[in-house]
Symmetry: C3
Subunit: 284 residues, 3 copies
Amino acid sequence: MNDNIKKTIDFDTILHRVRETKPLIHNITNYVTVNDCANILLACGASPIMADDIDEVEEITAMCGGLNINIGTLNHNSVQSMLAAGKKANELGRMIVLDPVGAGASKLRTETALRLIDEIKFDVIRGNISEIKTLASGAGAGHTKGVDADISDKVTEENLKEAVAFAEQFSRKTGAVIAVTGAIDIVACGTEACCIRNGHPMMSSITGTGCQLSAMTAAFITANRECVMEAAAAAVIAMGVCGETAFDRLGRLDGNATYRNYIIDAVYRLTAEDLKRGADYEMR
Amino acid sequence: MNDNIKKTIDFDTILHRVRETKPLIHNITNYVTVNDCANILLACGASPIMADDIDEVEEITAMCGGLNINIGTLNHNSVQSMLAAGKKANELGRMIVLDPVGAGASKLRTETALRLIDEIKFDVIRGNISEIKTLASGAGAGHTKGVDADISDKVTEENLKEAVAFAEQFSRKTGAVIAVTGAIDIVACGTEACCIRNGHPMMSSITGTGCQLSAMTAAFITANRECVMEAAAAAVIAMGVCGETAFDRLGRLDGNATYRNYIIDAVYRLTAEDLKRGADYEMR
Amino acid sequence: MNDNIKKTIDFDTILHRVRETKPLIHNITNYVTVNDCANILLACGASPIMADDIDEVEEITAMCGGLNINIGTLNHNSVQSMLAAGKKANELGRMIVLDPVGAGASKLRTETALRLIDEIKFDVIRGNISEIKTLASGAGAGHTKGVDADISDKVTEENLKEAVAFAEQFSRKTGAVIAVTGAIDIVACGTEACCIRNGHPMMSSITGTGCQLSAMTAAFITANRECVMEAAAAAVIAMGVCGETAFDRLGRLDGNATYRNYIIDAVYRLTAEDLKRGADYEMR
């Protein structure tokens, strides 16, 4: 008897709800990968709206089911809009995802991300291990390194148990489902975690697969409010399975540009059967 | 004898002029679909310039043949630039297209779009039926609902006659050719209208086909100043025909990302013969 | 005995170093082609970071090996960030490329580009002949036309000698390697120049091949600091060779959108052998 028997993700229901309810997602995101975020939202069955002016973000959030905040090319204006939209989303019970792109790379990003998780309750925070560590060490801890001192910058089979405990602890602190993505992905709430081994290394040769995943996660959780952790894990698995499907489609002349297109294409064609067949995960 | 005999669009001349004169189009547009707008302009034979700083927009408009204003991700700064560029375009007799993306979705968008049509004379206004209705009900009418009260949010065979009358009336009010795009497209001036049934439903699964069409419309009318309505209709038909051509090219693994590329590819390869063979329209 | 024997570019070493050192490149660039710049950097083996807020650009530049400044959609805020990042790069000895997109098209662009080359020491300045002429005539010359009076707006076999002398002179004035790209490309330092005849005319039907080349040049020179001129020439040749490879791959239905993807794909698959076989250049 293995962990998969203990609990399995209901891909049929989760994907069906995304496609049936077509959640409208408000994105305040970076200008590097924004087009891909819009197209992957459409690919999975959702609808994107991008708006970042302080004078309209609250209205736009109010008319949407979910909000995706990505600090990839933040600036003074957009930070104010992120805060306003996030608070409105909390007030109205909209689902919110944070993608703390580059937290740790500059004081502005780190402080913005910390302020966001301080003032807004997120449903999911998705980042790589470095970004999540930056937030975990800073949040409520005077920006000192602490909890993460012994988590390395890469999740491996060797430190997986430790990384899972770290993600669960950060989830308890923030109240958000934590998605740490990398070679092995961890999606954790306060009491359990899902470890995922889908995806392909070539995905890191495309800009914005992380941003796209965050956008898609917003769609998945908005359509599946009653099972946020499962829906977030399903989004991570979907991105990974599509990364594998797209890789298998590459010819010998294809590179990262075609791969980018094929991943979005794969999301467009994705079925619950593909997920059930391709998913490589375990609950812990 | 049918309507098509009454009047036919001269695709040969219209497309030839775009490719021969290579109009330079100034775009003040959103950052979501801007790259696709630039590439579709190049695909049809035009040249794009993007510039939105208040200190240069008038100069850039002056050196271009046409201006395309799209409020997709407007902000306080870009709104000022739109107004300045639009006024300069009017002063110099440059052609102008407005794409009121999301008018009706937020007060900022609605008011900006209304202010733009109030202060600037546009040659073409292109949007979906909801956006155009928002403008028509607000413009010069104290923002009350009125003219559009009985126009539904989707143009169908059943309400087509009514929708055409609505578009013609809004054209008389604004002096602009009105392009309402959807499953059935309407391109109307004050006295006549063209109803178009090209395109494919899958086009709505790509972000920015509307934005791309607005950019291409700016190119088509700039190269064909003496027949703006025909040129605008030709642009709408061209986008629809290319959407069909691109759809026919899709393989079973292709999704919306590949479809996006194939549509732009089809515009690049488009001939007047393709338009004559594929066009499905009638003058009313 | 021809010029190629006098000096040949060491493609093996140059390309190998890019892929081995994976230089991190900070881009302050336009929102039209930013996604393509990110993906071509990844394709060649480098890593992109985009950041333009004044509060973080110095930190981001400091953590990167190189900086790529592109004024394609400049605004008041980003100009300040370009100046701050450029000065920090100079202070720390980071490599810097300037792409003066549209210099000459507006006063704002011309003055910004002139101010940048006045206050910052660039390693490479890459533009088309019109942009470079604008800078050369304005820099330190009270904006009068002078040095370039007799250089036409297109580099041809007929005016090549003159154009080379012009580029070398501008290089001596700025201390930067000058890359003038067009049908014939010139890469010049103060004492010698490389004339390159790679590429394909269809590259001008894609938005941003110039921007992409500037980004890739930043990666090439950052990984090859001790031979900046050779590395810049290698980047120009690489873009041209990939433009040819990608063109050969096009089918009869493919247009500029697919061509864009295939060029980036070709960079991803590029080998030193491809460069040695395909390079068409001569040292002067």
